[in-house]
């Protein structure tokens, strides 16, 4: 099995999807000759031509609006928004048409498209290039929101997203693009959207994270064993909306304690939703209040200080200890 980075595995998923189905096309800024600013669409123009690799004028709202129309017409557009910070330009088309067209047309016009976009901090970027605003899209009825954490699940999730009959927001943790390699099989794989994965079994506490936060969370889980003899169960959420409530409830019912980690702002964030669901479905099993380690309710700081904003293993370990100490 070849060892790929996430950037490469996403490229592979696009390539294989386009080869398998000529309805699949990609559309976005600088994705053709340039292969995308993160090179995720590299080589696709040469292989599939400009009718399927559509370099657009610089207008995010136009990209999403056009993709919705193409999807209505029977294509399967995979739109790239260069940085998730620039989805704000497309808020109009995402909310008004991408998310609503199926329902508004009473099922006549489904929108089987994907909006791929890099999100998150940690790459020393300028303003607007480090946001994690997945909660906006999870809050939008009609959309699905998924976030992979490594090369292999990124590839499978992207396949699933492209083949999903409904619009999917596909958030790519840009800090992970080239951070590590993983075995990725040649044959296409798919993951079910809406399913979380228990990536580490444990009995003392449940840690829930996703995307780029999986790495500090898993590191914290290792530290907890090594330094504190605490055995944490770790869940990779993978799908923010729909959310796999059952897997979360099962785990927390077993461990009785839970810490949630995300880098997006705290208020009305994904952790808040998870806490609400656990409160509804696992309340009687809880032995301590659920804690969340999140970004703060401020604009993502300039990069010289971004490491202090982002959740890190030490902070997660500390939150776990506090949760365990609760009587």
């Amino acid at each position: 099995m070849p060892q790929l980075t996430m950037a490469e595995s996403l490229n592979l998923a696009l390539d294989q999807s386009m080869a398998a189905d000529d309805a699949v096309c990609v559309i976005g800024e600088d994705i053709g000759v340039n292969g995308g600013v993160f090179r995720i669409t590299k080589g696709l123009l040469e292989k599939y031509g400009e009718d399927r690799v559509i370099d657009t004028p610089l207008a995010e709202n136009g990209i999403i609006g056009a993709a919705v129309g193409m999807a209505i017409y029977g294509l399967k557009p995979v739109a790239e928004i260069q940085f998730s910070g620039f989805m704000m330009q497309a808020f109009d088309q995402i909310e008004q048409n991408m998310a609503r067209m199926r329902n508004r047309s009473r099922g006549r016009y489904p929108v089987p498209m994907v909006l791929r976009t890099p999100y998150g901090g940690g790459i020393r970027a300028v303003e607007h290039h480090s946001e994690s605003r997945e909660a906006y899209w999870a809050h939008t009825p009609g959309l699905k929101v998924v976030i992979p954490s490594g090369p292999r699940n990124a590839r499978s999730l992207l396949h699933a997203a492209i083949n999903d009959p409904d619009p999917v927001i596909f958030y790519e943790p840009k800090a992970v693009y080239r951070a590590f390699r993983e075995d990725v099989p040649d044959e296409p794989e798919s993951l079910e959207i809406g399913k979380a994965q228990v990536v580490r079994e444990g009995s003392d506490i449940t840690l829930i994270a996703y995307g780029a936060m999986m790495r500090p969370t898993l590191e914290a889980a290792e530290d907890l064993v090594d330094l504190h003899q605490v055995n944490a169960e770790v869940i990779d959420l993978l799908s923010i909306s729909p959310m796999d409530t059952q897997t979360l409830v099962d785990s927390v019912s077993k461990t009785g304690r839970c810490v949630i980690v995300h880098e997006g702002p705290r208020t009305c964030g994904v952790a808040a939703e998870i806490i609400a669901r656990l409160n509804e479905h696992a309340f009687e099993h809880l032995e301590a209040p659920i804690k969340r380690i999140t970004g703060y309710d401020i604009h993502f700081p300039f990069f010289q200080v971004e490491q202090h904003y982002l959740p890190d293993p030490d902070t997660i370990v500390e939150a776990v200890q506090q949760t365990l100490a609760y009587e």
């Binding site: 000759v33 207008a59 136009g62 020393r124 300028v126 401020i298 300039f302 202090h308």
Partner: protein
């Protein structure tokens, strides 16, 4: 409501000095302008007029349009020249610093010095400037410091501190979004300003594809707002050539649809830029409304330091534009006027280099991250829940410090 109540309310208003609209600005009789009469719709063809193209200095440095040559004092011409050289020196130095790991990702402006200095030259202190991110030259002219720009691009928020006495918006990284803000400032000036200030905003050829830029032009046109729109057409939006950004041959032509005047300007000719912008600024100042200028220039360097233009453009094109270098062209002009010789060129280069180096030293002196203040500019008064978060954040910092991270 009785007369007294109305009176009382206006009395209350001025006691709150922060209020945006002073009572003296509330007109006695509301101004309501009727719409212009609707044009005869039976006209068989629509005449849209002509858009002038301005070049004063050709690429050889010769005067190609004597009738428009501005009458600038020698000292002014040399000041303009020096500003262009300083812009290039800063650009070059920052690229070196970036390559040596001492600077974050930034957008070099090499090749656009004439567009930059030419557009900013006619502005006075009281005017407003709303730049895009590739505007070092104009920002230095306005009073932003070298160390400030370096801090900013190296990821220190301190660099966004607007220098005292400078009426500028912080530059915008979000393509086109500042053009709307700039338009709003102009609409504000029109309603409040006693000294006829104007706004100048610049944006790229790519930015012109953003809906918000279209909306802004339209707002400015309908409001007759005092603003100058400078589209810096440098040929590219990252990898996308302008020919793929528009189906038309010229961006200046868009003004026609909004009913505002425009001009296409050789953006590598600093004299043409000065003349065109001066004219547009005067129009705005006299209350004649907005103007669009398309400055035709070329991004001679990288989109940003994270970019590799070899992937999408060929060397021949770059070589061609090197022969149209705005600095070289202006040097010939100044030499022909006996205002500059080789020794003076070298001296200016050395002085500007020195100025940049001194700025870099000040930058180095200040390049210490201050993570403790990230909450401080969020609100006038931090809400209690954010106070809690701030406390939590600061204690995390303290803990890290103790542990020596």
């Amino acid at each position: 409501m009785s007369k007294e109540t109305v009176h009382d309310r206006t009395k209350v208003t001025p006691s709150a000095p922060e209020l945006a609209v002073k009572s003296s600005h509330i007109p006695r009789r509301p101004k309501i302008t009727p719409p212009k009469p609707r044009k005869d719709i039976s006209t068989p063809t629509i005449a849209l007029g002509e858009i002038p193209n301005l070049q004063i200095l050709n690429e050889k440095g010769e005067i190609s349009d004597p009738s428009h040559e501005p009458n600038l004092e020698p000292a002014e011409l040399l000041r303009i020249y020096r500003a262009m050289v300083l812009t290039r020196k800063l650009d070059t130095r920052m690229l070196t610093m970036q390559r040596q790991g001492e600077m974050g990702t930034f957008a070099p402006g090499m090749g656009q010095e004439a567009t930059q200095i030419g557009q900013i030259y006619p502005l006075t202190k009281k005017d407003w400037f709303a730049p895009s991110y590739r505007s070092f030259g104009a920002q230095l002219w306005r009073g932003w410091t070298i160390e400030g720009l370096m801090l900013l691009w190296d990821g220190f928020s301190e660099g966004f501190e607007i220098p005292d006495g400078v009426n500028d918006l912080p530059f915008s990284i979000v393509i086109g979004s500042h053009v709307a803000t700039a338009t709003g400032v102009a609409m504000g000036i029109k309603r409040r300003d006693d000294d006829d200030a104007v706004v100048l905003t610049n944006f790229g050829d790519g930015a012109f594809s953003q809906g918000i830029v279209a909306e802004s032009l339209n707002f400015a046109a309908v409001d007759n707002a005092p603003i100058v729109f400078v589209c810096e057409n440098n040929g590219y939006a990252i990898s996308m050539p302008v020919q793929r950004q528009t189906g038309a041959d010229y961006l200046a032509g868009r003004s026609v649809g909004y009913g505002i005047p425009s001009m296409r300007v050789d953006g590598n000719d600093v004299l043409a830029m000065i003349v065109a912008t001066t004219d547009a600024v005067e129009r705005a100042r006299k209350g004649e409304g907005p103007t669009l200028l398309e400055a035709v220039t070329y991004r001679m360097s990288l989109h940003t330091t994270a970019d590799d233009p070899k992937v999408y453009r060929n060397e021949e094109e770059v070589e061609y534009w090197k022969t149209r270098c705005p600095l070289a062209r202006f040097e010939i002009y100044l030499k022909n006027k006996n205002l500059l010789d080789d020794a003076a060129i070298e001296r200016t280069a050395a002085e500007c280099e020195q100025e940049v180096i001194e700025g870099r030293e000040r930058f180095r002196g200040r390049a210490t991250a201050n993570p403790r203040e990230v909450f401080d500019s969020m609100y006038e008064k931090l809400p209690p829940e954010l106070e809690d978060q701030k406390r939590e954040y600061l204690s995390k910092l303290d803990r890290k410090n103790e542990e020596g991270h």
